[in-house]
């Protein structure tokens, strides 16, 4: 009995890994790219002025809150620092950028491919001038997650959409974890995604 009591006491002395993380440390940044793409072939981009909100796998509309605008500004700033030139959507940009806020209250294993394929058309391809096309996504990965919010940034290949018969996602960045949509975290999250993707650069 004493030994069992001792074991129970000892178990309660376990260092809790979650309590030992700050909000910043709890966040993760994942980027994926299409390995067949040379980003130097793209010169221009266009970005939507609002953010798609995906709530439990359903498109819940577009929003442009102060934090959303901050995220879009951070993406623009990062793209321009890499040499990409922003143009209007009507000026045939080489790249289109979708920014999404995803909320998932599920506690199951999430395969990122599920939500991509599930509501891959959250921005109607018509927005980019390719009505009837689907989105093509890079390979996926899975992480166990709890209730959380995610920031997702997609770079779309509009330059070759006609040739591919698809709007290919050539780069995707996801920021996940505590407070990912707080004012500070949103900007640093976008910066982190670009910082770990030095290949996102155009040859000028």
């Amino acid at each position: 009995m004493l030994a069992i009591a001792g074991l129970v006491t000892a178990s309660s002395c376990t260092k809790d890994p979650m309590n030992n993380l700050s909000a910043e440390e709890s966040r993760i940044y994942i980027t994926n790219k299409d390995n067949n793409v040379n980003f130097g072939n793209y010169k221009t981009y266009s970005i939507a002025d609002s953010v798609a909100v995906i709530d439990n796998n359903r498109f819940a509309g577009e929003q442009a809150t102060a934090v959303d605008q901050q995220i879009i500004a951070a993406v623009k700033s990062a793209m321009e620092s890499r040499g990409f030139v922003r143009v209007a959507r009507s000026q045939s940009p080489d790249l289109g950028i979708n920014v999404s806020r995803l909320y998932n209250t599920s506690t199951s294993v999430v395969d990122l491919n599920d939500y991509w394929s599930g509501y891959g058309g959250y921005y109607d391809p018509y927005y980019w001038g390719y009505s009837g096309y689907g989105y093509g996504y890079p390979s996926s990965y899975a992480l166990v997650q709890s209730t959380e919010a995610m920031l997702s940034v997609d770079l779309l290949d509009l330059k070759n959409a006609s040739a591919n018969n698809s709007i290919r996602v050539v780069w995707n960045g996801v920021a996940r974890g505590s407070g990912v949509f707080t004012s500070d975290a949103a900007t640093t999250g976008v910066q982190a995604l670009f910082n770990q993707s030095p290949y996102l650069n155009t040859v000028r």
């Binding site: 030992n20 440390e25 990965y141 996940r176 974890g177």
Partner: protein
């Protein structure tokens, strides 16, 4: 194959202890030992978890078969934890993951144990002991607040040990005990292949009944 060998080793060891108990004339009582234990990871385990663990204990209930020899049950608990600063990891699909990675591992060995007291009447009594059996492991590998790998497994454990028992009064059965052990604990996950560590333990030993 390796698991089969380990299972056979445990079965042989337990059968040996039963044989010893069955043949011997009882000479001592049942002795409970409770010790605080610090653990120092060794070998390849240290490559992943290098921080020493000061959150552990070790316990045994041993039956005195002769004045020198005792057999019984040994157990314990150890909590290993390691946090790495933010780093960039390459995912299996070629993606990049930036994360603060942390490992949280708990081990509870459940061992058949034999102990040899080298000088049962002395003021300072050196001993050697060996425990062989199972190891209940809870293993967690986190990227930020997200689980990368979670495993709960019963594995193999062997624990050779040496130390001293110092009775509070000469010839007494209650006293201070301290020692060191090597904890052989195979385990397989993406990041570790064993939980081998050196244990340093100290505590009290006292009789449960005469």
């Amino acid at each position: 194959m390796k698991n089969m060998k380990q299972r056979n080793l445990i079965l042989f060891f337990v059968a040996f202890l039963f044989a010893v108990v069955a043949q011997a004339q009882p000479k001592g009582g049942t002795q409970l030992t409770l010790q605080y234990k610090a653990a120092l990871p060794t070998g390849t385990f240290k490559n992943t978890v290098s921080d020493n663990s000061f959150r552990g204990l070790q316990a045994s209930v041993l039956y005195g078969v002769t004045k020198n020899l005792a057999v019984g049950f040994g157990t314990g608990f150890q909590d290993f934890y390691q946090k790495y600063p933010r780093q960039l990891y390459t995912l299996s699909d070629g993606g990049d993951l930036s994360a603060v990675r942390s490992f949280s591992i708990q081990s509870i060995p459940l061992l058949a144990q034999v102990k040899w007291n080298g000088a049962p009447d002395a003021g300072i009594q050196p001993y050697v002991a060996l425990g062989v059996g199972g190891n209940l492991v809870s293993y967690n590998d986190y990227a930020g607040e997200f689980s990368l790998e979670q495993k709960t497994k019963l594995g193999f454990a062997a624990r050779p040990e040496a130390g001293l028992f110092i009775p509070f009064h000469k010839g007494g059965e209650t006293g201070f005990t301290a020692g060191a052990s090597y904890n052989l604990m195979p385990f397989s996950s993406t990041a570790v292949s064993n939980l081998n560590h050196i244990g340093i333990q100290a505590g009290l030993s006292f009789p449960l009944r005469k």
